[in-house]
Symmetry: C2
Subunit: 207 residues, 2 copies
Amino acid sequence: MKATIRKNDPTNTRGRVLDAAAGLFSRKGYADTSMQDIMAAAGVTSGALHHHYSTKKQLGLAVINERVAATVEEAWIDPVRNAATAEAGVRKAMTDIIADLKEGSIAGCPLNNLALELAYAEPQFGSALQPIFDRWTQVLARQIGATGFALAGPAATAEEMATLVIAAYSGAMTMAKTGQSVQPLKAALKLLTRLLEPAPSIGPADA
Amino acid sequence: MKATIRKNDPTNTRGRVLDAAAGLFSRKGYADTSMQDIMAAAGVTSGALHHHYSTKKQLGLAVINERVAATVEEAWIDPVRNAATAEAGVRKAMTDIIADLKEGSIAGCPLNNLALELAYAEPQFGSALQPIFDRWTQVLARQIGATGFALAGPAATAEEMATLVIAAYSGAMTMAKTGQSVQPLKAALKLLTRLLEPAPSIGPADA
């Protein structure tokens, strides 16, 4: 049998495989996606796929490190870092995400989807996913620390508030996915941006 | 072949099957759990299992309606309904849940696990899961409406605040599962209870 012609653009094949796998994992879940599904979606042969990833687990880890992390960077971390205040950054990130969603085909946040499906059953996935949450929290906490927040007070730190914001966004996306409606995200956006208004307008609640 | 002896306690067999399936779906995910896994965990024969549920999908829907809904009722809705204020109810629910978690074996919230895995890929699951989020939101919104909240103002409704609380709890549980740490839940508990402090202590932020 003749060897298949090696196109010698491994980066592109790899990129297509990662894109296809990231999309399928988000829409169908990791467990329900087969290597065959990924080959078909990426338009690559079994040989080409296995040249890059010999197991689905290797591919899953690459999707986390090279696609999920990049999505969070682009959708959340860049807007937060480039905004003048935490409130403006969260508003920009969530407004753009909501605008991009189409009710009826809300597949959810790729980070949260994989985290809920795999973080516990596959500890290696948990270890790959946690640094993404950590970085997201740290960048947001830095902005919150600089501008303060409406519920200020000695007891809550900027990191705790960043955790709340990320948790609320993540949970609202799960609810949006369940009901195929952007309403939970709109409610979260409204309240989180109010919560992140700089502190001076009202005094600490329990000083 | 002799028919297996029918013990005539279908409720109990059914209950064991539902318990086993609910546990496996939470820990391993729905897609990764086979009917064989459920038979083994429940200690029932294939005949007994299929007598009650001929497909995994039927069983999945029964787990949502009879186990996941009951878990949310017991862990969240009862404490919220029985408390004097929304703040006290949320504090009680989250404090008890955090106390029950063991780091290293945090499997997450059964509702959110199934919602993220299946709500989009299996619309029937989404339709079964959505009423659980709706009821949870309504009961909490009723309490919040009665006591107000620290971030009060004409623009935010009690239902939006209830959505934020449920979203933040849900997302914090995902983060807890990812990092196998209760810290995100503790941060959410601290800030959500402060947010739910009755309004009179501070004025509306943007009146």
